[in-house]
């Protein structure tokens, strides 16, 4: 089944799915292959998000198609490495701004996280 046609404008690409967002984050500083991305995301989220191969490569396929990441052409052990494209960097920043704005709106209404952090007793 074909993917929906890629959007032409930047803001049509937003919002990113959490998976896509995490993959772009993982590729900010270095090129990685699929397994590297899984490890990076798992480490960053403290193991809360473990991408399976199906979801990972579906997201990669979509990001490649959108032109946000690209195949580096470098391959060892049969695995392709991906890098963040300039467009990807722009979209990542735009998505971060979008999320930040949302959070600020929430804070403005007085909504603060009430999750207890480990080691700190609730008064």
């Amino acid at each position: 089944m074909p993917l929906p046609p890629p959007p032409r404008r930047l803001d049509e690409m937003l919002p990113l799915s959490p998976h896509q967002f995490h993959i772009l984050l993982a590729l900010m500083d270095r090129d990685l292959h699929g397994y590297g991305i899984i490890l990076d995301v798992a480490a960053r989220t403290g193991g809360a998000l473990r991408l399976g191969t199906g979801t990972l490569y579906t997201a990669i396929a979509r990001l490649v198609e959108l032109g946000l990441i690209a195949d580096t052409g470098r391959a060892d052990d049969r695995r392709r490495y991906y890098r963040l494209t300039p467009a990807g960097r722009v979209v990542l920043r735009a998505e971060t701004v979008r999320l930040e704005t949302l959070v600020q709106h929430a804070h403005a209404r007085g909504l603060r996280p009430t999750v207890r952090l480990p080691g700190r007793a609730r008064s």
Partner: protein, 870 residues
């Protein structure tokens, strides 16, 4: 970074590759290699944490790949399928358990059905195989219903019978090929004319025998098997026209037959080329018969036709042919023979296990639906229509079913590859392939079951007053509800008892069988063959046998050595009728049916068979005129001796004008017909060396390893062109006779263990649910001062009642089912108290473990929870 694959990761990768098929095709097309490489890394990580972690990874990937399908369809949009996948992902324990249970059920049923279909249902691999029959001579009056056939009679049957397209015969003749650098022993068959035509399977390359090659004195020709062609000639078509060399004579390879042609590992087929003399011997019966019936003729009609032919022959040859007829049986039935019952047994066990697994999945789904009853009710109250809620539950069910089906198919493909290792003795097992119909059926049935069990409770949960569900949450007591689930648990326990009880019966039977005294001492005895042909010069073969046995007995580590035509418990026996003057046998004509073995001077002593009376076989020279000395076993004396002294008495064979035999000794009963078979009267003929050219040699040695080397050296010195083969401990021969009972017991034991495990999971799920639902009730009881022990007792009593009903039903089913096992049992009654007690206790222990966790959880309920659950 490359990781070295281990067996576990290799299997995991094979399953993953199969699973990739459920992922979207466009994704697979571009990213397959990357996905496999990534999975390899993940599975290597998981493998370091153990096999369970690998299994968990696989199950997660199943769900993930299935979810990817939905993701692919609507990227960025949370569609209903993705919602269902998310909902499942929030309950990973449940989803994993359901997917693994479903997939195991599908895989085992499919794999075993593939075996049953191959061995029992599918026709033999010959054209129009339904017309192929096995044929024997039969003499009803002497109870020989499956006698081998004399070549002359086979020719006459072919000429005179109306019911057959053709009849052919074959006998075993193993040969030693000396055309290569080393002598190689090949397993061979001599075949009569029409043999290949009867089977009707064309050769792979080349041709079968011409009339010229089948005639006595014709040119040497050989048809070889696909296996030998591959092994020796690398499937080179130029093998045709080359020659194998047997006994110094060249046999030109004229054709290669496909592997499917023969059930056992036969290497070569040679034309029988009977000498005219052999075609005169009306009582020389040594051919295994096979025939092709004319279209529309049944085996019974074929037998009647041959009986008519025999009546005509009896008028012509009253002395030899009177009273003889023929037995004709479907070839497939004959080949499957002994395995039929065991296979159906295994298949029945698998079906039971499959039922249990379906019941288990149903139970798991029910637990979930009950847990979610409030959630569903709230969603309904918020405006979700009933069809929409039901559709959501159905979607989750189908996702699990799809995932379970996919993993099941992958596992089934793997099981089918493993099966030949476990069931190597089954006929045609090398032909096994995954049966797609079976896969389709068991997968579809599992899916329907999973869907049904998700649908039904969803409908019930949303029926009637939804508001009542919202208000009623948590108020239920442990009694009266979840009737379907209770029924399922009871059924699971009962079926598990049936499996465990049957397994216990077979294990006890196997134990008894393996501890029967065989009447001889196989430990420390080595048996082997030395290649020799029947048409060789007997004097020369005889000299070789004598020299070999003498040289072996001269070895420091050999106590004694000897030879016989057939070893005990190998299923091979020649049976005759004999008479002793002054004694009356069990037959109407006074004859005594006996099994017959040829032995030499030291054979029985090498096996440490006790001498009861008289003396051992004398050492025999090639002296054909003296009366043949024979020994008889104790059973012979009991059955026919009438309390008289048999030593020195003369014994004659009922058929043919054989020379008299003198009884010289009586030995203990040996399990000649296999362990567990009642002892039959046996005659041990002390024959001169060379009388049986290709005997089984035995030697008692204290150093089996040195023995094998010394044996080869001695044979090389005596005759360099002879192959030594089949060197193995006699223990393994006796063990092989127990293969079938051992297999039965092991397989059923395995199923019983799996069933008990599944039933335990069912019990655990049910009582976790019940305890969870009764939290309020339990808390109130605590608040009213109940002791922990009382609470545990409350939970345990509820579980105990279900368990007791299940166990009771199971025992009843085991007692009823035992009747079907009767034929497989040795020295164990189908109503065997220890076996049933073991099964019940084993299951009760496992079930108690499953109940312990929910019971303990109940004691952790704080009284304040009575308020909180609201």
């Amino acid at each position: 970074m490359t990781t070295t694959p281990t067996p576990t990761t290799r299997v995991a990768r094979a399953i993953y590759r199969a699973l990739l098929r459920v992922s979207p095709q466009a994704l697979r097309g571009s990213y397959r290699a990357d996905m496999i490489a990534t999975f390899d890394e993940l599975s290597a990580d998981a493998a370091r944490r153990g096999a369970v972690a690998v299994l968990a990874l696989l199950a997660r990937e199943v769900l993930d790949l299935t979810a990817a399908r939905a993701l692919w369809r609507d990227v960025g949009h949370l569609g209903p399928w993705r919602q269902a996948a998310r909902s499942l992902a929030r309950r990973p324990g449940f989803a994993l358990a359901a997917v693994i249970t479903l997939s195991l059920g599908v895989a085992m049923t499919t794999a075993l059905f593939s075996v049953v279909d191959l061995v029992l249902i599918r026709p033999l691999p010959y054209p129009d195989a339904g017309r192929l029959v096995a044929v024997w001579e039969a003499s009803p009056s002497t109870q020989q219903n499956t006698s081998l056939i004399a070549p002359v009679r086979l020719e006459e049957w072919n000429r005179m019978s109306q019911a057959f397209d053709g009849l052919a015969g074959t006998y075993t003749e193993n040969v030693t090929d000396t055309s290569g650098t080393e002598p190689e022993r090949l397993s061979g068959r001599r075949v009569t004319p029409r043999y290949f035509a009867v089977y009707g399977m064309p050769p792979l390359i080349g041709r079968t025998f011409t009339a010229d090659e089948e005639r006595y004195g014709g040119p040497g020709a050989v048809v070889i098997s696909e296996g030998l062609w591959t092994r020796r000639f690398g499937r080179d078509p130029r093998a045709l026209g080359r020659a194998l060399r047997f006994g110094g004579v060249d046999f030109v390879i004229v054709g290669v037959v496909p592997a499917a042609f023969s059930t056992s590992s036969i290497d070569v087929w040679l034309p029988a080329q009977f000498a005219p003399g052999i075609l005169l011997g009306r009582e020389d019966r040594f051919l295994n018969g096979v025939g092709r019936l004319k279209p529309g003729v049944t085996p019974a009609q074929g037998a009647a036709d041959l009986a008519g032919v025999e009546q005509q022959l009896a008028r012509q040859f009253p002395k030899t042919d009177a009273g003889w007829a023929a037995t004709v049986r479907d070839l497939k039935d004959v080949r499957v023979g002994d395995f039929r019952r065991a296979l159906w047994l295994v298949f029945a066990a698998v079906l039971l296990l499959w039922l249990i697994s379906v019941a288990n999945v149903a139970g798991l789904v029910l637990v979930q639906v009950h847990r979610r009853a409030r959630e569903l009710a709230i969603r309904a109250a918020l405006g979700a229509s009933r069809p929409r809620i039901v559709a959501g539950v159905l979607r989750e069910g189908s996702l699990m079913a799809l995932a379970g089906g996919a993993l099941g198919a992958a596992l089934a493909a793997w099981f089918v590859r493993l099966i030949p290792q476990f069931f190597g003795t089954l006929p045609r097992i090398t032909e096994i392939v995954l049966d797609r119909r079976a896969l389709g059926f068991s997968a579809a049935a599992s899916l329907v079951a999973a869907l049904f069990f998700s649908l039904w409770p969803a409908i019930v949960a949303t029926r009637g007053s939804l508001a009542a569900s919202v208000h009623g949450g948590g108020r239920g007591t442990a009694g009266g509800r979840h009737r379907l689930q209770r029924t399922l648990v009871v059924a699971q326990v009962a079926l598990s008892v049936l499996l465990a009880g049957s397994a216990a019966l077979l294990i006890r039977s196997y134990y008894r069988l393996s501890h029967v005294d065989p009447g001889f001492d196989p430990s420390g005895v080595v048996t082997f063959h030395v290649g020799a042909r029947w048409d060789e010069d007997r004097t020369r073969v005889g000299q070789l046998q004598e020299q070999l046995v003498a040289a072996l007995e001269a070895l420091p580590h050999v106590t004694s050595a000897g030879l016989t035509n057939f070893l005990p418990a190998t299923g091979a026996t020649l049976r005759f009728q004999v008479s002793v003057a002054g004694l009356h046998g069990t037959e109407a004509n006074g004859a005594m049916p006996v099994g017959w073995r040829t032995i030499d001077f030291d054979y029985l002593r090498t096996l440490r068979v006790p001498l009861v009376a008289g003396e051992w076989c004398p050492a025999m020279g090639p002296d054909g005129n003296a009366p043949i000395r024979v020994m008889v076993n104790q059973r012979f004396v009991q059955l026919y001796g009438q309390g008289q002294n048999l030593i020195g008495r003369e014994l004659r064979f009922a058929q043919g004008a054989n020379q008299p035999n003198t009884i010289v000794g009586v030995v203990g009963d040996v399990a000649e017909d296999g362990p567990g078979a009642p002892p039959m009267p046996y005659l041990y003929a002390c024959l001169p060396a060379g009388a049986w050219p290709d005997p089984e040699y035995v030697a008692r040695t204290s150093d089996p390893r040195a023995f094998a080397a010394d044996l080869r050296r001695i044979v090389r010195e005596l005759d360099a062109a002879r192959a030594v083969f089949g060197v193995r401990p006699l223990d393994s021969v006796v063990d092989a006779a127990l293969d079938q009972p051992r297999l039965n017991a092991e397989v059923l034991g395995l199923f019983a263990a799996s069933a008990a495990l599944l039933a335990a999971v069912g019990l655990y799920g049910l009582f976790m649910l019940l305890v969870g639902e009764s939290t309020r009730e339990i808390a109130v009881r605590f608040a009213l001062g109940a002791e922990r022990g009382q609470i545990v007792g409350l939970v345990a009593a509820g579980a105990g009642r279900l368990l007791a009903i299940g166990l009771g039903l199971g025992v009843a089913m085991t007692l009823a089912g035992g009747q079907f096992l009767r034929a497989l049992l040795f020295d164990v009654s189908p109503i065997d108290l220890p076996a049933i007690v073991t099964a019940v206790l084993g299951l009760a222990v496992v079930a108690a473990g499953a109940i312990a966790i929910p019971a303990l959880r109940a004691t952790k309920v704080a009284p304040v929870a009575a308020i909180r659950t609201e």
